[in-house]
Symmetry: C2
Subunit: 413 residues, 2 copies
Amino acid sequence: MSKNLPAISPLAPARFPRMPEIPGVRFSALAAGLKYTGRKDLFLAEMAKGTQVAGVFTTSKTASEPVTWCRDALKDGKGRALVVNAGNANAFTGAAGFKTVDITATATAKAVGCRKSDVFVASTGVIGETFDGQLIANLVNKMAKTLKPGNWKAAAEAIRTTDTFSKAATAKAMIGGKSVTIGGIAKGSGMIAPDMATMLSFVFTDAKIPSNILQKLLAASNKKSFNSITVDSDTSTSDTCLLFATGQARNTTINSAADPALKEFKAALDQVMQSLAHQIVRDGEGATKFVAVTVEGAENNKAARRIALSVANSPLVKTAIAGEDANWGRVVMAVGKAGERADRDKMRIQFGDHVIANDGGAVPDYDEDPVAAYMKGDEIQITTHVGIGRGKATVWTCDLTHGYITINADYRS
Amino acid sequence: MSKNLPAISPLAPARFPRMPEIPGVRFSALAAGLKYTGRKDLFLAEMAKGTQVAGVFTTSKTASEPVTWCRDALKDGKGRALVVNAGNANAFTGAAGFKTVDITATATAKAVGCRKSDVFVASTGVIGETFDGQLIANLVNKMAKTLKPGNWKAAAEAIRTTDTFSKAATAKAMIGGKSVTIGGIAKGSGMIAPDMATMLSFVFTDAKIPSNILQKLLAASNKKSFNSITVDSDTSTSDTCLLFATGQARNTTINSAADPALKEFKAALDQVMQSLAHQIVRDGEGATKFVAVTVEGAENNKAARRIALSVANSPLVKTAIAGEDANWGRVVMAVGKAGERADRDKMRIQFGDHVIANDGGAVPDYDEDPVAAYMKGDEIQITTHVGIGRGKATVWTCDLTHGYITINADYRS
């Protein structure tokens, strides 16, 4: 476990994925110099007329001004533009913060030719520092003139803060005989915990799905992706995930979230959302191991999820994994503190395929050597059966290393 | 912030306190070699006939065998002996674990001449490894012959695991014209979080208070001490706090926890419990700063406590303090994620006496220099007013440093 920070997370995917154009979606990104120099930090997306939108946001009681704005803008289910800046979160900025969003949205609406209420705004970066919306307003006109389809790499780069790599994912699906495409980007590596887990994610599709149904699909998929990851149990003030559907695929009319025609689309959306969520964990601050925690045999799925998060958030479990130690005693501890029912004397704990404890105690013929070898890998699966019922859940996290301390004890200096 | 671990926490008190004898209480401690070598790791306390006892324990659903034993032994409110071993927690050890406790208690009962159900047992150390109770049984007879009043230093040493210093506290009080004495020891530095926060604490007094009233006093004091500290949000399987009252002070009869004669005693008990709890935080694994988090203006005291714990448990707040950074944005985030009501636009945040944010934004004339100087101290007070009601709470924690990672990523190796 190195105390030096790698430039790119050792868990990063080998390459940025090949991303398709989404009919009805165009991007522009540039270096506005709001905080960073020498990199893109401002992103504009323009969606075709008629685009439907869904969104899920942080549950924080101190949500940022852009989150408040987006919640309002979402009410009519229509979205034509998205502006995102990195470097300043415009959170805890009071009346000045609202003004910044309003100036940004007004200028963007003018630049792309839509209503102000069809503009979505997201900001990520330092909390508590105001910045002038005019800085963005001065640039969106220029950006609107350079909009291009498929410029994913620039988009994914422009929304990064402490991320060590750009995150994107895509999938295809058939809806009633028509092929539709989904593509998304995300950013986030610290201040990551459920409700919402992402900091920012924007997903686009050419599927034609009305906003009320889109909202249900997004909420369901979000539960299995961004809300099932945790890096450090801290919940951001700015977490935002938006899903835009341009409708340009002209698929059959969808009247309900339960429509069987949506089966493939749901799976494809899950795939994109889960890939983006996993990429955020893989970019967890200081992460050297990608960890899946599965809980089985809980009272119900909700109890299983709560236990899994207790394990995934435990600093003692996470440091043990960093130390490549299959310390199942700490897993027992973390199961115990979750507050959900667990039968201590029926519990089973395994790392990968290696059953370490069973029926409430270490297995009699426990051989540490193969487990020690397993712990040296960079993907760790912890599975525990808690001996109560049939509830099951999986959440994803990373280990807790010196890198996390180095990054976060020095962030502002 | 050093990555090297000091032998003794930089936050340790200057010296072990001068501790009084408690009439009716005798101690013995020795090196049993259960795990450690060259230090005491087994502690026996014998209390006079008629001693009343109260106890509070971990809320873990995977509590250790000794915790289960103590809960049973507590039922009749009588206690004559206490045996504590360090090095093995006897947790998640199933039927073998119960047998270990039973053998220990049987031998101890014989050695001090009491019923088995009047023997209390506590174990701390590694989880999931069985050990033979006979190892202790063979020693208690010898220990019973060397019992002495006032051997606090040896007792406090014998119950340590990763602690870097021995912890004890004392106070005196008058009950109805009679002077009574309270003395206690504690151990714990990691796996520390509310419900219960301590790992182990044993408090003794010569006051004459019946067990049912003693239990109420202990529970109330525990809430303001051990249940108001957190090092890493992890809850141990073994947390135990026992309060033994020998009655040798022969004070006036106490018939109710609300008896005015108990006023001084309650304050003295709080003082001892809070001192021990603070010493545990001061010995937090890798700690370099002692941090008090006070929340005011919450909906009620319970909400205030929940918000305070959210701040005190936030890895981002704790790493910022380690980096001597008055990062109030992270405090806003941690208040927001607590799930309790907070008025973002009325919030006030101060570090020590320095008001940094007010009415939902940074103070206009914020001068960072005096705050930066304040953050270099080793005692940090964070106070936040959340602008809702009159609820108030204080909890105590420490910073999160490279030392915590070093200790916990290498614990078993």
